[in-house]
């Protein structure tokens, strides 16, 4: 796992992808921080986080699009899959590398919070729960993105599909609101990755929410391993 993790991490930063990803996240978060805190003149970061999170999820496909599709196209997966290493360890190495880059990008919010704290009272709990929640959402989306990347040989197809999934999960909440039948609305809401995030954004750690995101990450990582396995058997 360590070898794959290191290789992937180096891959992000030996090509522009890692830097572009971080730059985009820094830029967007800077804009939101400026509008919802600095210009609005408030130390309440809840508005900032809820906006920020919804945008960040659309950048994640950049991180995951090439994880497997590139390996398949270059046939480098042959080196990985014929090495004496289990598929789960390879998949986890890739997963944690993507999550690390995401974490580096997301950590900028802590810098904003500290900046703000020099001039006003910042609710530490809100910052902590949001950063924690952000990592969970990131983990879930990275796992989904990597699974999609494993289904295709084309980076572009992987990116577009992952983007579409992100879009659907964001829209689900609004869709659920207009569905009159309650159980259908609830079912749709369950698919909405964001409805679970609301508690984090206001500073609440809810165990079921934590479990929800971790489950998504585990399930999709598992599916990635299975689909690697399946390709050998087809």
């Amino acid at each position: 796992m360590g070898a794959v993790y290191k290789k992937e991490l180096r891959g992000y930063f030996s090509s522009p992808i890692g830097f572009v990803f971080i730059a985009v996240v820094f830029f967007l978060s800077g804009v939101f921080f400026l509008s919802s805190n600095i210009l609005a003149g408030t130390a309440d970061m809840r508005g900032f986080f809820s906006q920020y999170q919804e945008i960040v999820i659309f950048v994640i496909p950049m991180l995951t699009m090439r994880t497997w599709s590139d390996e398949k196209r270059n046939k480098t997966d042959q080196a990985l899959l014929t090495a004496p290493v289990g598929l789960t360890r390879i998949t986890l190495g890739k997963f944690f590398a993507a999550l690390t880059v995401y974490g580096i990008a997301a950590s900028v919010t802590v810098v904003y919070a500290l900046t703000l704290a020099t001039a006003a009272d910042v609710d530490g709990l809100v910052v902590a729960s949001n950063v924690f929640g952000m990592m969970l959402v990131g983990a879930a989306m990275v796992a989904v993105g990597m699974f999609i990347s494993n289904l295709t040989e084309s980076q572009v197809v992987a990116a577009v599909l992952t983007f579409a999934v992100a879009l659907v999960t964001v829209l689900m909440e609004s869709v659920a609101l207009v569905i009159p039948v309650e159980w259908i609305a609830n079912a749709v809401l369950a698919l909405s990755v964001f409805s679970r995030y609301n508690d984090f954004s206001v500073g609440m750690f809810n165990f079921s929410d934590v479990l929800y995101y971790i489950s998504i990450a585990v399930i999709f990582t598992f599916l990635t391993v299975r689909s690697l396995e399946k390709r050998r058997w087809k």
Partner: protein, 358 residues
């Protein structure tokens, strides 16, 4: 040691590998020979655990590739048809990565240095892989397979796309590797197998059609007595004369390759030396004998022999004679005149064009 038993792989309904079994002993160099699409790559992918078999078993040094994949894989170094290289890495980074990926426990610096010297990439060690030539990329791929000093090396068409000098270098390297490792390598070039292997496995349509040493295979196929004869004489006359010789089993007209002559393939029974009788019959008829040489075994012939339906070669040759003759008579000249006439005209036109250019 590698043991393959009743290996089958189906893609959909089509069997790419159809019930093959073989054993490779320690220290053996096995050539896997077959045309494209014969199932060589599929078999190798199964041997290395990249693909799973539909049925049958593969054991590498006692470990089943499906039951104990990690142990079995740790015994194998694999160079796939397209080397699995990360184009953005330097050779150093790449080999480091492979070293860690394989969980190698040998001394890193010494081990990698030794491999680089062996395959001759020490002077491109710091360069980015995508900037290397195809030959060097192939060598880096080979280096990758050698990391961890695996007992078994599986090389899928290691010389494809290389220039003749590189091919010879890689062949020599494989021969040297064969001293320490068990090597299976695939190719569709026959001379390669002859140059490198002690044993050859011919595979066609997913089945093993021959398993032998290169020498005895060629003896078996031809009885070592196949000559190509070039005679300045009429095609049908020469053909008939050769056919009539004592000890000739088969004759085949190869057509006209030099002006005023005809090429014929003469195959005789094992042990019979036909060179003198051929010379005599040519002398009697007053046809100058322009050349005799041993026909080299080529892959196409092997497959014709091993896999193709039994062909009636004399009948085919007869047809060829008739065809050549009818072409000749249609234009009102003899066979030789016609073809030579047109060829000479072409040559003259070409020479003229060349002159004009100057």
């Amino acid at each position: 040691m590698i043991e393959v038993k009743n290996l089958v792989k189906r893609f959909g309904g089509k069997a790419a590998v159809n019930d093959i079994s073989f054993t490779v002993h320690d220290g053996e160099v096995l050539g896997f020979l077959g045309p494209n699409g014969a199932g060589k790559t599929t078999t190798m992918n199964m041997l290395t655990g990249y693909l799973s078999s539909t049925s049958g078993s593969i054991t590498i040094s006692g470990y089943d590739i499906l039951a104990q994949p990690e142990l079995a894989k740790s015994k194998i170094g694999y160079l796939p048809e397209k080397p699995p290289l990360y184009p953005d890495m330097t050779v150093e980074e790449y080999l480091d990565f492979i070293y860690e990926l394989k969980g190698c426990t040998l001394k890193r610096y010494d081990h990698i240095k030794e491999i680089c010297e062996l395959v001759g990439i020490e002077h491109v060690y710091g360069r980015v892989i995508k900037h290397l030539s195809k030959g060097y990329q192939q060598r880096v791929g080979l280096a990758q397979a050698l990391v961890g000093n695996p007992e078994v090396l599986i090389l899928d068409e290691p010389t494809v796309g290389l220039d003749p000098r590189q091919i010879i270098e890689i062949r020599n390297l494989i021969r040297r590797l064969g001293e320490k490792h068990t090597v299976i390598f695939s190719t569709h070039i026959l001379s390669e197998v002859q140059a490198v292997c002690e044993r050859i496995l011919v595979i066609n349509d997913g089945k093993i059609v021959a398993d032998d040493t290169p020498d005895s295979l060629s003896v078996k196929l031809y009885g070592d007595n196949r000559l190509t004869v070039r005679v300045a004489g009429p095609a049908d006359g020469v053909y008939r004369a050769m056919r009539a010789l004592d000890g000739v089993k088969k004759c085949e007209l190869l057509g006209i390759k030099e002006k005023g002559s005809v090429d014929i393939n003469v195959e005789s029974a094992a042990g019979a030396d036909m060179r003198i009788p051929i010379f005599r019959v040519c002398a009697e008829n007053g046809w100058p004998l322009l050349g005799i040489k041993n026909t080299e075994l080529d892959l196409e012939d092997i497959f014709m022999k091993l896999t193709g339906p039994e062909e009636d070669i004399p009948a085919q040759a007869q047809k060829k004679v008739r065809r050549l003759k009818s072409r000749g008579s249609a234009s009102g000249g003899t066979l030789d005149d016609v073809s030579e006439g047109t060829k000479a005209a072409k040559r003259a036109a070409k020479a003229e064009r060349a002159k004009k250019k100057k």
